[in-house]
Symmetry: C2
């Protein structure tokens, strides 16, 4: 039989990152391509201890169906933590638990976009989000990133040109892939534009707690007096990525529709791990654990930056992140990065091509993304050396 795939999925390619992830079975490859947190960031022993206790004392609830919105004590704990630490959440907001931060992004689009509606995104942006929007039949309009955040002049042009834009997707802090954190001034301007053009902001903040340098910048959600912001985050980078526990805080009216959509996607998120998260938050010291992860990533990022500074020819530009997992490198004179990346892989160093993060999948990119959370210190030194040699041969 000849199958007819839906229009929205027919054109959608698997994420280049996850395809690279699958091909990394060759152990001689140095991978800067991952988006994974370091396994050192998983508090396995403490989770094991709490798990044993859940099995011993609460197994029926942990293994049975629960409500779609999430395990109530975890919802409350997450909402309280967001409020106390980050000033997030008003009385018109609701917090729900999602199957990873990814599901929050996808549900927000499903709740607000008809097929053909526009989602305005930073360009480049997180491919998982871009593909989530595409999988809902939304059209992407990319607005370039400047050093201080999304280009607000071009953003206003995009808002005027696309009256059917329903969502403005932003990763303001430790941007993936670009490594940028937008300034408060930029955020305030963007918020005013969102208010003026009546568009909902989807603020994706998976790395926000991983700041290891510089000063905190308030999230959009923390100054969201108008109910414009849906805020997504997760435990993937601070407890475990594999457990798939995320959360969303946003206006009741939208969240209630996201709950209906979640109900028919997976009924609810794994209950056992929701309980485990809750127990960890209330019985262990999550903040102290996060401090350890920050120190680890600071040391890895510092090493990668210093190796790049020492070895990379000046014609290659790269960001100096203050947190998160990624560095963003740009080749000189707008050269497409495809050839460089191919040759790097031949020399056994894997990076992610900038094209993977483009709103327009046909557009070229002069950039690529480097991850520093996963490789060993030794691999960082060796891998950057190989990339620097290649860059000198090719460009400078």
């Amino acid at each position: 039989m000849e199958y007819k795939i839906s229009d929205k999925l027919a054109a959608l390619k698997p994420s280049a990152i996850r395809e690279i992830f699958k091909s990394l079975s060759d152990p001689t490859i140095i991978s800067f391509a991952a988006g994974n947190p370091s396994p050192l960031s998983f508090p396995a022993e403490q989770l094991a201890e709490l798990s044993a206790d859940i099995f011993a004392n609460d197994s029926t609830a942990a293994l049975q169906y629960n409500i779609t919105e999430g395990y109530p004590p975890l919802r409350r704990a997450v909402a309280e933590r967001m409020k106390e630490k980050f000033g997030i959440g008003s009385e018109n907001d609701t917090t729900i638990i999602t199957t990873g931060g990814q599901q929050g992004i996808e549900l927000a689009c499903k709740a607000l976009c008809n097929e053909g509606d526009v989602v305005i995104c930073e360009n480049p942006s997180f491919i998982g989000a871009l593909n989530a929007f595409r999988s809902n039949g939304a059209k992407l309009v990319g607005v370039p990133l400047a050093d201080d955040g999304i280009d607000t002049v071009k953003l206003e042009e995009a808002l005027i040109a696309n009256p059917n834009a329903k969502l403005l997707y932003l990763i303001p802090t430790f941007h993936n892939p670009a490594g940028i954190t937008s300034t408060l001034e930029n955020r305030k301007k963007v918020y005013e534009l969102a208010k003026k053009y009546e568009i909902v902001i989807l603020e994706d903040n998976p790395y926000g707690e991983l700041r290891f340098a510089g000063e905190n910048v308030p999230t959009y959600k923390s100054f969201d007096t108008e109910g414009l912001v849906i805020y997504c985050s997760s435990f993937s980078k601070i407890l475990s990525a594999g457990m798939r526990i995320g959360y969303v805080c946003g206006p009741d009216e939208i969240i209630s529709k996201m709950v209906v959509a979640k109900q028919v996607e997976d009924v609810h998120t794994n209950v056992f791990f929701q309980m485990l998260c809750y127990r960890y938050m209330t019985e262990k010291d999550l903040d102290a654990h996060i401090m350890k992860i920050r120190a680890l990533y600071k040391s890895k990022c510092d090493l990668m930056v210093s190796e790049l500074e020492k070895n990379m020819p000046d014609c290659i530009k790269f960001t100096r992140p203050e947190g998160g997992l990624f560095l963003w490198c740009t080749l000189p004179n707008g050269t497409s990065s495809a050839e460089f990346i191919k040759k790097a892989l031949e020399r056994k160093v894997a990076v992610v091509p900038g094209t993977a993060f483009n709103c327009d999948t046909e557009a070229p990119s002069d950039s690529f993304r480097l991850n520093y959370s996963m490789p060993s210190d030794e691999d960082i030194v060796r891998g950057v050396g190989i990339l620097a040699d290649l860059a000198r041969e090719m460009f400078c």
Copy 2:
């Protein structure tokens, strides 16, 4: 700000069942409204033992990201078990792990249906599936259920009348809510129609292993020579519902698109519990465990049927299930069941109205669903007594 909800979600109501589930906090209510497996069906001690071992020896893999298709050893174990026990899966098929059986249903629709395309369903049918189709903007066309399965004459009429029908959704075994198992003859006829009209069958079989009486009937997938069938099932009713582990077996070409869609919904399913499932399947005796669940449900179902036979006036019809979790009761002369259900709830017995399972949400129903897996034996006796008294007062 005034929010504009997408057309496909604006009209979608939360599942009546899950809303009832939430309202059942009153402990004096006897609930026949659940869809939950009995907590006695969760092998908590064995899962605890295996969990401790995973934390001790494999915690990094269990807590890290993995591939979207599912934990490879679990995929293989599930595919092998389906093949060996049920003859399911050809060389053109692929098996993936989903976040509950629910996600398989939703992804199948997303992969095959554009907004406005038709999904043909048994009427009544599983509300979670109907709402999954609605949430993708599909239109539902209901075909009545006869005693031997979907009405094949009306099905052919529906196929002729709806050339844009992309999916035929069926729960052939221990139907939810109707409790019917369709005959092999009926299945063969339906399969021929699907072949003739080139429509993909989505076979949902969450209860298939819970047969406690009668003879096995081959699944559609087991005689699917043409690659017409996507088969969904899960571990929810045999290991744990709360862990959300399901699986789908279907033609490569469709499954590969479902994988892309899953990637942007939740990246992958909880890895720890995928490993736990795999360990349970290979180190414990799943079949022996399922035999215990069957014996439990047989005893509960027998009790409910015998109490209904003893007490219910003859004008009330009900099914005699050979497996699964549900009985389906029908009031005399097409009377709407709304008033009966309301009065039953006043007398502290909760059931699910048949309207919740209608393809047409405005259509009335003369039926309601009873669950026997969750209530205690005492509650089954008392609750059926209350329903029978009410039926006598109202109808006979």
